[in-house]
């Protein structure tokens, strides 16, 4: 039983936390009407940032636990800042969101490789040891509860507070909202800060908890998997958290079917097939509900002549 619990926490729970956090972050961003196509690059970057921060912090601070905690926060803050830049560029520039998203994706991949390798360099010079978040059940339960709380907060913020209402309104019709005197760029910047913090935290936990180390190309594609979870959860935080349960279970359990005679190539492709099917099936279901519908101006360029 203990062995099972250990396996459960190490694989399923950590996958769940990462995909939920990143999925909810993506929901906050896309609810404001910006297509978040930089997600995979920025997720990969945050996974590398967490490693390098943790190395640097561990060499500065003797308490391992504190060092990892601080690097979690630093990663979240850095990703939030990058996302706010992403949102501002997407709002003020007269260029398609697909173009900016792809650019950010590539820049993210490149920077992730650089940042992670810088961490390695520091490591080879100083030989510090990172206290990765251990798989003890206490810390797992703590992170688990924090995730649930974060999802709840995201829900309250988006649906019960003025800022969230503004974010969603901007996602529906930015021109209308700006005509009543709201600064669209500012609202999107805030949603980028919030969503980016979620995504950064997810990326950091991916490195410092789920994997417990860093290697070249770490985190590649996991951003897209979380994106799929987010779309399949109708970009609605509680539902994202719910869909994430099924998705992480499928993701963790499907490779085990290999022992039942499934070819390895099929189980490798299974998470990707699952995400595509999940996105497609879900998006054909929700046409009727206003609450769950896609933001109307998602992916449309918000640009006016003489923007002052």
């Amino acid at each position: 039983m203990n062995e099972f619990l250990d396996w459960f926490v190490r694989t399923l729970a950590s996958a769940y936390v990462v995909y939920t956090l990143v999925g909810v972050g993506n929901a906050i961003i896309e609810r404001s009407g910006v297509l978040n196509l930089g997600i995979d690059g920025l997720f990969m970057l945050s996974a590398s940032l967490a490693y390098t921060y943790a190395i640097q912090m561990s060499s500065l601070i003797q308490t391992g636990f504190l060092a990892v905690g601080i690097s979690l926060l630093l990663t979240a803050a850095t990703t939030a800042l990058l996302y706010s830049l992403f949102m501002v560029l997407n709002t003020v520039l007269p260029i398609s969101q697909g173009a900016i998203g792809l650019s950010f994706m590539f820049v993210g991949y490149g920077l992730a490789a650089i940042v992670g390798n810088i961490g390695r360099l520091i490591f080879s010079l100083q030989r510090v040891r990172i206290e990765y978040i251990s798989i003890t059940h206490v810390s797992a339960v703590f992170i688990y509860l924090t995730t649930i709380l974060a999802v709840l907060l995201a829900y309250l913020l988006l649906y019960k507070y003025k800022l969230g209402v503004l974010i969603r309104a901007v996602g529906e019709d930015p021109r209308l909202v700006s005509q009543i005197g709201v600064n669209v760029t500012y609202v999107r910047l805030l949603s980028g800060l919030l969503g980016g913090a979620f995504i950064g935290l997810g990326g950091a936990l991916f490195t410092l908890w789920r994997v417990g180390g860093w290697s070249q190309g770490q985190g590649l594609n996991h951003g897209w998997l979380a994106y799929a979870v987010s779309i399949a959860g109708w970009r609605f935080p509680p539902l994202v958290a719910l869909v994430s349960i099924f998705f992480s279970a499928a993701y963790v359990l499907l490779p085990h079917l290999q022992s039942l005679g499934m070819p390895i190539e099929v189980s490798t492709a299974a998470p990707y097939i699952t995400s595509i099917v999940l996105m497609v099936v879900v998006s054909t279901l929700h046409r009727k509900s206003r609450l769950l519908a896609d933001p109307k101006s998602l992916g449309r360029s918000f640009y006016r002549e003489e923007q002052v």
Binding site: L35, L37, D40, V92, L93, P94, I95, S96, G98, A99, I100, G101, L102, S103, F104, F106, V107, G108, Y109, G110, L111, A113, I114, N117, I118, R120, L121, S124, Q216, N221, W224, Y227, A228, I231, P263, E265, V266, T268, A269, Y272, I273, S275, I276, M279, V280, S283, T284, D294, G299, Y303, E305, E306, Q307, V308
Partner: protein, 376 residues
């Protein structure tokens, strides 16, 4: 109170500085300098050897021709998709599907037994069928995200990127399973295709094949003609620049998206089929591990640099193939300098990333003027 704001206005007069070649070269130079600075900051490579390597790459062109042709074909495929705001980042997967189609026709289909004779006509028919099926499979692979985009409004980008990995797995499944070769010295891979099914080597230029050269020219010219001289081309351009106008003039936006997806995927599949028939001759296992040369991804850069201008495809392809060769050479000269565990691959990624973002931002100045206004 001081108020700072960004003012963006449409440009009506164009100046020489805003022309496409200048922006192209400018962002490449910026990318080059940025990646040099990063290399310099991390390992301290001296500027002389960095730029000498760059110069040597540009001077030696023979090795570049092969990748130039493939990047031209794939770049055209992606470019026409970009014209219609269909962000075809799935060319890699379509390319792999093209390979699968080609090897199926020449090795496993009933046609291959039927046309196994060594006479020229049956070999030509076999090759043509292989290339066409490769193209068709590529088109099919691109049609899936296209239809998903049209019917569910999910962005095609994540779907395509995920489908690239599915394509790799599909190829590996076939290579290790039903198509596993008998004469492979213990490796997992398919057998070689027969001599008669291979493309013709150009005497004197061993890296080139007649069919590939012809295909590159045909693809480039026909896409140029489609875009500039047909109604479909006009509709594609409208879809990319002003979809509302397309809709209000009575055309179905969805049909245009689907046709763009099909054309783009077909050309990418064509390239994959030719790669298999002309160069690889067999399918390796673990194809996603760099064995495709990542042409499908590199070609995104080609399409990007020539953004919505088909005339710049070939110059961009020359630049990009020179750069990937440069990346390879710089890895060689970095080899002794880098500490263990650090790969030079990171630098080519950062280079691509910086070039893309600088280009994206500067090309805005071609059509819009951006000013910072400070008011009191």
């Amino acid at each position: 109170m001081v108020k700072i704001s960004l003012v963006i206005t449409k440009r009506y007069k164009r100046t020489i500085i805003e022309s496409t070649p200048v922006i192209l070269m400018g962002s490449l130079l910026t990318g080059l300098v940025m990646s040099y600075l990063i290399i310099w900051a991390t390992v301290g490579l001296d500027p002389l050897s960095f730029f000498t390597t760059f110069y040597q790459t540009l001077v030696s062109y023979t090795g570049l021709l092969e990748s130039l042709l493939f990047l031209t074909i794939l770049g055209t495929a992606i470019s026409i998709a970009f014209y219609g705001s269909y962000w075809n980042v799935g060319a890699e997967g379509q390319y792999v599907l093209g390979m699968l189609g080609a090897i199926y026709v020449v090795m496993f289909s009933p046609l291959s037994g039927f046309l196994s004779g060594n006479d020229l006509v049956s070999a030509a028919v076999l090759k043509l069928a292989a290339i066409l099926l490769g193209g068709a499979l590529g088109a099919l692979w691109s049609l899936i995200p296209g239809l998903i985009k049209v019917f569910t409004k999910i962005s095609e980008i994540p779907i395509m990127l995920l489908m690239n990995y599915i394509a790799y797995s599909l190829s590996d499944y076939l290579t290790a399973g039903p198509w596993k070769g008998r004469y492979t010295y213990g490796y997992i891979r398919t057998d070689m295709i027969s001599e008669s099914a291979r493309l013709t080597v150009i005497p004197g230029l061993e890296t080139l094949r007649y069919e590939v050269v012809i295909a590159a020219i045909v693809v480039l010219v026909s896409i140029y003609l489609i875009l500039d001289h047909t109604l479909l081309g006009l509709k594609i351009k409208f879809l990319g620049t002003n979809p509302t106008a397309l809709k209000s003039s009575g055309f179905d936006e969805r049909k245009v998206t689907v046709s763009v997806a099909t054309i783009s995927g077909f050309i990418a599949g064509l390239a994959g089929a030719m790669r298999l028939l002309g160069y690889d001759y067999r399918l390796p296992y673990n194809i996603g591990d760099g064995k495709t040369g990542f042409y499908g991804y590199t070609a995104i850069l080609v399409a990007w640099l020539s953004f919505r201008d088909i005339r710049f495809i070939v110059p961009s392809a020359i630049i990009v193939s020179a750069l990937s060769s440069f990346g390879y050479r710089i890895q060689m000269s970095l080899k002794g300098l880098l500490p263990p565990g650090i790969s030079a691959y990171a630098f080519s990624q950062i280079f691509i990333g910086t070039t893309l973002i600088v280009y994206t931002l500067t090309r805005i100045t071609k059509e819009f003027s951006v000013k910072l206004v400070i008011r009191r």
